[in-house]
Structures are given as C-alpha cells and as structure tokens.
C-alpha cells in the first residue's frame, strides 16, 4: 500500500525521509562494498531490483474482489537480506512512482521506511527466529509478517499525519487500519503462501543460475536459498 504523492503534510514527508535515509545509506554502502569486491555483483543486484519490481507488479487472483499486488519485499528480504533490500526497495519504489504513479517523490521516504525498511527487517527477523522450524513455516511467517508490518507502519504514518480530532492518534490508527485491512490482511496471507511456493520452487531449480544469488547480499555463507 503506497502512500500517494502529496498525501502527507510536508513536515511529515520530510521527517520520514530523514528517518529512512540512514537505512538507505547503509544499504548503498553495503551495495558499494559488494560491488567493489565483485564488480559483477551489480548485474545480479540490478536483476534483483528488476525482479522485485516485477514481483510487486504481479496481479494476484482476486483477494476480496479488488485487484491487488504483493509487496515483494518479504521474499526479497529472505533472498537478498534486509540491508540490500533497503536500497533495492528504494530504487523500486522510485521507479514505481515514476513509471506507475504508485507512491510519489514527496512520500518516497515514508514508503521506503514502511516497505523497504520495516517490512523486510520484521519479515527477515521472523524468518531467522524460525530457523529451526520447517522452511515452509519460516518463509510463510516471514513473508506474511513483512506484509503486515509494512501495512501497520503505513497505517501508523497516516494516523500520525491525520490524528482524529476526537479520538486522537489511536482512533485514527484504528480507522486507517480498518479501512485498508479488508484488502491488506488477506493479501498478507496470500503473499505468504506464494512466498512458500516460490522459495520451494527455487530450491528445486538449484541450477547454475542461482549460484551466488543468495550470497549477493550476504556477509556470511549459507543464506536462505542455498540453505
């Protein structure tokens, strides 16, 4: 769920940009480090960015009637790790704003924070915590949590920007959460299931193409895909 261009008051838009910036800079450093060590990694990272864009452009079979798209950041965080996802997610969000008018330039900071920072970290955290659980469970929870965390963050951002005159922040949060929950909660479940099918299918490919894919964003060995 992208916050539309101009929807946030200027101060909020600026504040979220400042808050998201360190994560993006960290991601950019990480990408720069990887690219210095292995120049060819930029091609793999470009492909990863394009993959994330395409994944988020897939139309899901109707969830509660409306057409909806996955966020793609949960799967991305599991495969490429959150720091890299912060940068790739920012690039993808910028392109989504420019090419599809999803989100915007002034709201880029807010959207980056919810979709490229909070979602990936929350999802990846759950995925790592469930390391000992069956892979399907870990992936499902990781992807679904990434989705829900993104959505809760967005609702909170909107509530902070538009507190209810009577019931205040909490009331506004409940309202924004409620209005979009109709589409977002089933979406999280569906995306979780998709994530499981996707990661399972990736395992079965195990072709030469996938060598190095999981290691793109990883400092240590043994990341998700080849785990």
């Amino acid at each position: 769920m992208h916050i539309a261009e101009g929807f946030l008051p200027p101060l909020h838009a600026a504040a979220w940009t400042v808050i998201a910036a360190p994560f993006v800079v960290h991601g950019a450093r990480e990408v720069g480090r990887v690219a210095r060590e292995r120049p060819e990694a930029r091609l793999l990272l470009g492909a990863a960015g394009a993959f994330t864009f395409v994944l988020s452009a897939l139309k899901l079979p109707s969830v509660t009637g409306s057409s909806s798209h996955p966020t793609g950041t949960g799967v991305g965080a599991i495969v490429f790790r959150p720091p890299v996802m912060a940068l790739l997610g920012s690039v993808v969000l910028l392109f989504q704003a420019l090419l599809l008018a999803h989100g915007g330039i002034t709201t880029l900071g807010a959207n980056v924070f919810s979709m490229a920072v909070v979602g990936p970290w929350a999802g990846y955290g759950c995925y790592r915590l469930l390391r000992r659980a069956p892979l399907a469970v870990a992936v499902f929870v990781g992807v679904a949590v990434a989705d829900l965390a993104t959505y809760v963050t967005t609702a909170a951002q909107l509530a902070l920007a538009f507190p209810d005159p009577v019931s205040g922040l909490l009331g506004a949060f409940a309202r924004f959460f409620g209005i979009f929950a109709v589409t977002q909660v089933p979406l999280a479940v569906v995306e979780g299931i998709l994530g499981v099918v996707l990661v399972r299918a990736l395992h079965s490919w195990a072709g030469p193409e996938l060598e190095g894919l999981g290691r793109v964003g990883a400092r240590e060995e043994g990341v998700s895909v080849d785990a």
Binding site: A201, W205, P208
Partner: protein
C-alpha cells in the same frame, strides 16, 4: 490469388478452428489485425507465414483464447468461443499454443513434473495424469529425459518438452509459434517427426513461421499475414505469388525461385517439395 470466402462457399464440415473477421490490437496502439479470417480444417497442415511483428503471434493468441479479439470471432467446430472462464477453460483443452521460447513454458525444475502441470490443473486423478505424461513424452520422443532437470536439457530438447506439456492436454489443435527458430537441422528433423506422430494420433497442427522453405516442405495450406490481414490458400498458390510475398517481407521458397528462373511453372497439385522432386522434374 483470391481470398477464400468461406461465407460464400461453406464447406460441408465446419473448420475445427477458424477466425472470422477478427480485429485485434494492444492498448494504446493501432490494430495489429484488421478483419482477419482463417480456417483450419481437421488434419490439414496450415503454415502461418509473416515477417517478425506482422501479427502472427497475435493471431495465434486469439485462436488459443489468450487474447480477446476487439471484434470478430474465433470459432471451434463452427461454434463461437465465449470469453467466460468456463468456456475458455474448455477451449484451452481443445486448442493449445506452444510459444517460441521453451523457457517461457517450462515452470518446473524437472521434466515430468512440468509436463504434468496441465493434467494436474484439469483435476485428473493421479493415474490418468501419469498416463498422459508418459503418452506426451513418448509422442515427442523425450521419454528418456523424463527424470532430467529442465536446465540440463539442450535447446532442442527443451523445445520438445514444452510441446509435450501442451500435448498432455490432449488438444485437437496444436498451434506452434516459430517451432523451428533456433533449432539446428537435426533438431528440426526431430521436431517434425514428433509432429507427424501427433498427426497420426489425430491432432491438427498449425505452425507460424517466417521460414518459407520450411513451409514449402511441410504445409498443405499457407496463410500469409500482410498489412494486418491474412490471405490463405493452398500451398503453391500462396508461395508462388511473388508480389504477395514481397509485400509480406518474404521471398519464395528455393524450388519456386529456381523454376521461375528457368521459366517454368509450378504444379499446383503436386509441387516439388524436395531437391529430389525438383531434380526429377528437371531431368
């Protein structure tokens, strides 16, 4: 050459697959096809010729039900195709399209599982799925590859596995988009042999290609896509029409070019398809 005007001379048996006055295009662009008609009679080999970007693929996508025409109809056994999910599902069991790039059609890591994709979606019981998979793999001559990983196969093998995936749906009509593109002569031979086996099982095959020599050696009828319309006739009538071919960005097949250069006509009923045929004619 004249249009085949089906409305004036209706054949006794309706074509197994036909397009009637089909208009098709993509959002934001002009029409790619403009009142196109095409007929595929059961058991007749139809080659759909045209330059890249002429609309061959769009026409195949219309016929397969993947693309909904802006106007006009696609008919199966004379009955118009309805774009409702039930009717479309039924249509897809009867008409299968095989795309040019096999990698666009292979979704699973191993061959057997990939070929089973369609039958499983049909909701068939396991035993029947297995039968169909073996049958399709055998027909395409790739039964020995059943347990291999898709990425270990050569391009020609992947191509035949992709066709097997369509064949496992047991379609009446198989539409092939540029089936020989990128294949070496041996690969082409193996594919054509497999198609002949399928025809023996009752499948009607339509092939889109820009390889005029291939069409000459294989087809009964040719439909040329040119300037957004289709002109269809028996093989020789179309492939000796130099003007038509030129406007389609194609050249006549070599036997036609040679016989023309020698000032001889080409027999409509018994065209010389191979070098041996031509030699026999010239000797």
């Amino acid at each position: 050459m004249t249009h085949r005007l089906t409305r004036h001379e209706p054949p006794a048996v309706p074509a197994v697959l036909a397009a009637a006055g089909v208009h098709a295009g993509y959002p934001g662009g002009p029409d790619v096809l403009d009142c196109v008609s095409l007929e595929v009679a059961r058991g007749r080999r139809v080659a759909l010729l045209g330059a890249n970007g002429s609309g061959k693929t769009t026409l195949l996508r219309c016929l397969s039900g993947a693309h909904r025409p802006g106007a006009g109809e696609v008919l199966v056994d004379g009955r118009p195709l309805r774009h409702r999910s039930g009717a479309l599902g039924e249509h897809r069991q009867r008409v299968q399209l095989v795309l040019q790039d096999p990698d666009d059609q292979l979704f699973s890591a191993d061959v057997r599982r990939d070929v089973s994709f369609g039958p499983v979606n049909l909701g068939l019981p396991d035993a029947q799925v297995r039968t169909r998979v073996e049958e399709a793999l055998t027909a395409l001559g790739v039964a020995h590859l059943a347990d291999r990983a898709v990425h270990q196969l050569s391009y020609g093998q992947r191509k035949r596995v992709a066709v097997a995936g369509a064949v496992a749906m047991r379609p009446e009509v198989l539409l092939l988009d540029e089936p020989t593109a990128g294949l070496d002569p041996r690969g082409v031979g193996e594919l054509l042999a497999a198609l002949e086996r399928l025809e023996g099982l009752g499948t009607t095959v339509v092939m889109a290609t820009h390889d005029v020599d291939l069409a000459w050696s294989w087809a009964d009828e040719v439909a040329v896509v040119v300037d957004r319309v289709v002109r269809q006739d028996v093989l020789v009538k179309v492939l000796t029409d130099t003007d038509l071919l030129r406007s389609a960005g194609l050249t006549p097949p070599w036997p036609v070019r040679l016989l023309r250069a020698l000032g001889r006509e080409v027999d409509v009923l018994d065209p010389p398809r191979t070098a041996a045929d031509v030699a026999a004619l010239l000797a």
